[in-house]
């Protein structure tokens, strides 16, 4: 079902249409919450608040075809509100250098079957700005750059170049990790 039709059906109480929207966009909302480093409980709260607000606005979404952008913007506000209320200061934004830091020590004892686990650990070591962008880009299904821009309050034109630098940085961390090197 197209998104405007699904929204209209959900506004009439069509649970299947609503569940279709939940299935399509929950990955994006969860990824946004994780991009802001919310823990399990806070991330669940931010996602739930976003859906509750959509229910409240079901018949008042001005541009139904841009629902993903509305959800991304709402999720960002919910995440930042949780962070403010918890009294955590936002992470300082770092410059992203083209030349990577030296690769960290790597656990050579990992077996091949744990490659994804190793990759995930390396990913978590990225500087915050890189980790944040890549975490949203990792959402499933893959989000449009316009929606990523709204989720992170970034210019849409900056996403491609920063994505490239951050992936290069991650590849550099992977290089030297004999477990992961074959796939970079």
């Amino acid at each position: 079902m197209e998104i405007p039709a699904a929204l209209a059906a959900a506004a009439r109480g069509d649970q299947a249409a609503w569940d279709g929207l939940v299935k399509q966009f929950s990955g994006l909302l969860w990824s946004i919450a994780r991009a802001y480093r919310l823990n399990d409980a806070d991330a669940a709260d931010a996602v739930q608040c976003t859906w509750v607000k959509l229910v409240e606005h079901l018949d008042r979404i001005a541009e139904p075809e841009r629902l993903a952008g509305w959800l991304a913007t709402t999720a960002r506000h919910e995440c930042l509100q949780l962070i403010r209320r918890a009294g955590r200061l936002p992470e300082p934004s770092e410059e992203i250098a083209d030349s990577p830091d030296p690769a960290p020590a790597v656990d050579h004892a990992l077996i091949v079957g744990e490659r994804n686990a190793a990759l995930w650990r390396v990913f978590e070591e990225l500087p915050d700005r890189c980790r944040r962008l890549l975490r949203v880009l990792m959402a499933s299904p893959p989000p449009a750059y316009a929606d990523v821009a709204l989720a992170l309050d970034m210019p849409v034109g900056s996403i491609g170049p920063i994505r490239q630098r951050c992936l290069n940085r991650l590849k550099a961390l992977v290089t030297g990790n004999e477990l992961l090197e074959g796939r970079s």
Binding site: A44, Q48, W51, V55, N116, L137, S140, L167
Partner: protein
């Protein structure tokens, strides 16, 4: 491996190590039941909270028939309403509880953190519900 392929590998890792929890999907599905079709909406007209940390949150809502002001401090919610009497129903996405309105005032304790809204009955019998608002988070 090009960047798109590398990102696909990362996406697979995210799905393996940080998937959307089943409970988050269940709550999202259940949220549709929170539609308030029958009620007049009281919009948030004022919101004040300390930027960080402790202290009460104060909120004001207005509809055509009713105005409500709330003060939420920890898990205690105190409200003052004009244009409605009887009971105030304090709702969160997972709970609802009716408390009596006495001379315009009502108090609920043990209110969970997160979103909250109030259902009221206007003097002419019209159901009214406030927008969702953050109490304490």
């Amino acid at each position: 491996m090009n960047d798109d392929e590398f990102l696909d590998v990362l996406r697979a890792a995210a799905e393996e190590f940080d998937p959307v929890p089943a409970g988050v999907l269940r709550d999202a599905s259940a949220a549709l039941a929170l539609r308030a079709l029958d009620a007049e909406l009281a919009a948030l007209v004022e919101s004040e909270a300390l930027v960080r940390g402790d202290g009460p949150v104060t909120l004001a809502f207005e509809s055509e028939r009713v105005s409500v002001s709330l003060e939420i401090s920890d898990d205690v919610l105190r409200g003052f309403v004009t244009g409605a009497a009887g009971e105030a129903v304090v709702e969160t996405p997972r709970s609802r509880r009716a408390v009596p309105i006495v001379d315009g005032w009502f108090t609920a304790t043990g209110v969970p953190s997160g979103l909250v809204r109030i259902r009221l009955t206007a003097a002419d019998g019209t159901p009214v519900v406030t927008q969702w608002a953050h109490g304490t988070a």
